[in-house]
Amino acid sequence: MAKSYVVVGTSLAGATAAITLRDGNADARVTLIGAEREPPYERPPLSKAYLRGEAPFEKALVRPSSFYADHGIETLFGARVTRIDPAAHRVELVDGVLGESVGQAIAELHRAHGVRAIFEDSVAAFEGTSRVARVVTKAGLRLDCDMVIVGIGIEPAVDMLEGSGIHIDNGIVVDEFCQTNISGIYAAGDVANHYHPVFDRQIRVEHWQNALKQGAAAARHMLGGGVAYDEIHWFWSDQYDANLQYAGFHTKWDELVVRGRLDSGSFLACYVTDGRIDAAVGLNRAKDVRRAMPLIRARRPVNLAQLRDEGVDLRSLLPSPDATSTSDAGSKPLG
């Protein structure tokens, strides 16, 4: 099997490493990943010829932008690595939760409404006297404003549990019954990193539906009648006149199967791995998102041609419950 190399960092060092790997092993899979959207470029010109406006940016590139594809070097530019798992030889990325094509479709929705997105820059300062009047970025942009909204995310409030013996890891770790490692202590909602039986992994979800359903699930187990909490996670966002919905859970996918067109303002994009749908995101496709939920829950391969076909009702793709037993000649299902 051919070797596989991943280089994180589209710096001069990262680029030369990838190029040297390709030169030294023509068969290897070489992947170059970096947070910046541009191909690797040299830094010296930034303070010299390029800064003075005497040379275009292209002159600063380590190699012409077509070089990497021409030499079989896979590139992921604009993708930020969040974690490297040395034991598993895996790299996890933050960018690409929805994927570039879906991300662009949603970015276009904002662009069409006059919203300008600025990437690869960050806030240096807020300016104003009695109230904010301006945002200054690290790159030197000065943006006049009346109001600033800061998305700060959340941090699970787990301080009170310090020393309790309750397992904390990205929130309060609970099982599928919302119970911690200490019997009788439960957690639900944003704070709970829960075991999800459908996806067979721990998940922590910061959404309305999870707060609503998981709190009830924890209570039912406390009352002695609980069943495993296996809600298909779902959220919506109403942006302008568009309704955006996501259902399921995914971090990676083999194939993005789209119903409708990504540039049409109405589509369903399904994140498919091993033929099964892990998650779906819909723009003005609420009905399709809801109908995809049972498919996500089923964890069985679906017919991707039918999934793509807008004439097919997604409810018809659900494998029949007795599909496995009827194919088993030896056991006829009762009833």
Binding site: W208, Q209, L212, W234, W236, D238, N243, A286, K287, R290
Partner: protein, 113 residues
């Protein structure tokens, strides 16, 4: 004639014909306009139910939703209502929708308003 829906109607009733029953196959929903009010109609196994079409959450059309048994799910945000009573079965809808009595005369579905 739908026996349940017709129960208790008298001579001077307020039933109005709204749609041909053949236009609403079993398991499906339709929307009708009755004196300026949008009313959704559900066919549950040949029995017809009528209720306000406008979800009490964000005013989406319930007839645009999915019908499963006697439950209609609003497509916008997942609220669920009992089509028989208009009662909320799942949030985020804060309030029930009005339900209307129905009856079938020939091929005509009538709603009491």
């Amino acid at each position: 004639m739908d026996v349940d829906a017709d129960e208790g109607t008298h001579m001077a009733d307020n039933f109005v014909t709204v749609i041909d029953t053949n236009k609403i196959p079993a398991g499906s929903l339709a929307v009708v306009d009755v004196r300026g009010t949008r009313i959704a109609v559900a066919n549950v196994g040949g029995r017809f139910y009528a209720f306000d079409d406008t979800c009490t959450h964000e005013e989406c059309s319930l007839a645009e939703g999915d019908l499963a048994g006697t439950t209609v799910t609003c497509m916008c945000h997942g609220a669920e209502f009992d089509v028989r009573t208009g009662e909320v079965l799942a949030p985020p809808a804060p309030l029930p929708v009005n339900a209307y009595r129905t009856r079938v005369e020939g091929d005509s579905l009538q709603i009491e308003v």
